[in-house]
Symmetry: C2
Subunit: 345 residues, 2 copies
């Protein structure tokens, strides 16, 4: 019998509620012969306040024993900005070498977009996940004085850029339109920009059937609202990817439906799947958060583990549910129930 050994991190705020629905749908979609084992971890604000810990060495060892991680959301206003982000989420992305941060954007029929004319949106952003301005490489001197100088260093390596660019080319080649856009700011960030651009052009030669394109990040935000249909696959740096995927989510149905995967393609470490949204403390505990993004993150997780048919079933269930979703608000668990019924049938 096959088995999935899953680490579950509900986290803070609505993370708890949406992860519960993700697991419900996961249980419903898995064939009988797949044995699902889950272990819940208590990372997040509560544990931080109680113990001062965000992620210990023992935690990391424990997480490593799993095939994948399902994360709700980490973050709470009671914790200073950056502590949980750097101490848990980014720490795991770095330690488990999640260099492919995968964020699909698809505007499904019946789903509202702030854009006029219901454009055809179906692209995927491959965001680098372990380099760039996210390395925590920086500091400050004369902190808190009128003479403070604070720096942030974006670190980019040929090794790190090439592997994610290659991954993106392969993804583009596997899609019908076979188009890959590099997004950077190589006219200002010339050192990092030239590294990205040179590697992109070098790898492009190995994928002659993939059409390539370059956009500065500022111009990319314009096209995301005026011509989102022009995008197929986008590859970009960690920070630009962070920014454009929130915008991409906003135009293609909102962060209520945006899923993501922090992927370690070699499988050396477990990959981690999470909704793009945060912990939304303002609506937490009210049972009204949309669990769709968490459920779609479960689909990405299943695809990563080789359960393609099950992943597709979840995505079809979500499509059907969204198409039929009226304007009446439904509770978090109602949506989860509806999706569980759909994937099971």
């Amino acid at each position: 019998t096959r088995s999935i050994n899953l680490a579950v991190v509900p986290g803070d705020g609505i993370g708890q509620e949406v992860v519960a629905q993700g697991l419900k749908v996961l249980n419903a979609v898995l064939p009988q012969d797949v044995k699902l084992e889950t272990k819940e971890f208590d990372f997040g604000a509560k544990r931080y306040h109680a113990t001062g810990e965000t992620l210990t060495d023992a935690d990391v060892q424990a997480l490593k024993q799993h095939d994948a991680i399902l994360l709700g959301a980490i973050g709470d206003p009671s914790v200073p900005s950056g502590v949980l982000e750097r101490g848990f989420l980014l720490k795991l992305r770095f330690l488990f070498d999640h260099h492919v941060n995968l964020r699909p954007s698809k505007l499904l029929p019946g789903v509202a977009t702030p854009l006029k004319g219901q454009p055809e949106i179906d692209f995927v952003v491959v965001r680098e996940g372990t380099e760039g301005p996210y390395t925590g490489n920086g500091g400050s001197i004369r902190t808190g004085t009128p003479h403070e100088v604070a720096t942030e260093v974006s670190v980019n390596t040929a090794f790190g850029v090439e592997r994610v660019v290659r991954d993106a080319f392969a993804r583009a080649q596997a899609r019908p339109r076979k188009k890959l856009t590099l997004v950077h700011k190589n006219n200002v960030l010339t050192h990092a920009g030239h590294l990205w651009t040179n590697i992109f052009n070098k790898v492009a030669a190995e994928f002659p059937d993939v059409t390539t394109d370059y956009l500065h990040v500022d111009a990319a935000t314009i096209f995301l609202v005026t011509q989102p249909e022009r995008f197929d696959v986008i590859v970009t740096d960690n920070l630009f990817g962070d920014i454009i995927t929130d915008l991409a989510a906003a135009v293609s149905g909102g962060i209520g439906v945006a899923a993501s995967g922090n992927i370690n393609p070699s499988g050396e470490f477990p990959s981690m799947f999470e909704p793009v949204h945060g912990s939304a403390p303002d609506i937490a505990g009210q049972g009204k958060a949309d669990p769709t993004a968490a459920v779609l993150s479960v689909a990405l997780l299943l695809r990563h583990l080789g359960y393609e048919a099950e992943a597709a079933r979840i995505e079809e269930a979500v499509s059907a549910d969204l198409a039929e979703r009226g304007d009446t608000p439904r509770a978090t668990s109602e949506i989860g129930d509806a999706l569980a019924v759909r994937v099971a049938s």
Copy 2:
């Protein structure tokens, strides 16, 4: 008699065409007693190819003799990315200490937006112009090899942040809604982020009548398309400002109408005014570029030099023109003529 001693840099591509219309409207709006002297400079791709120069010390000295600079656009595909940007535009922003990069966004009646429901958009972005990731502080080792490491250093100083934050608070205080939003990414870029946040909070205490707000840059892009009416004044770092002002332009009428000022508030060096759009080589020389952004940049220039009534006349003329603009495309010079007639009457 009063006088304006203006340096004019048409630059590349459509820069030439739109600046001509800006000057046409400037001439039409100025009262008889103001003596306008203009001197044209040939910076841009053509000069670079002919001489290898982007901006010499002598050029800088010559520009310094002027009250202000009107710039069209610099940039051409024949020049490697970054050469003209770093060698001319950014060089001037740094040398002339243009630390307030002012970018208003207003969706005027009758103007098309990609957003549904014609939202009320009227905000201004105060983008820091002389620090952050734009300093050119970075480099690469083992360049071009599989072991290349390329860095970009964002440099942020208390001095540089405080002056722009203070400027933004003063602008917010002078507007009816009196609201200022800080946009950064202080949960990841913790060093620079804390510097910005601490200074923002410190200065806020001196402006108790200004409502303040903080957004991560990724969340800000969401609100720019889902709730742009929530913004009044935004203050942000150089790179985040670059990104969100292109998006802001896209939702509030397009880059055809987005103006900007690179301002040295002390007046020690001339400020520079330019449309947000680039040189658009694909449509250059065809007389079809929209000169509205260049004309609105002239309005910002006049306001900076103390000609408030004339600035307002230009803005009213543009409003009226846009409101009556049908779907028939008009030539660059036709639009310029129409605006010149309106401001003169």
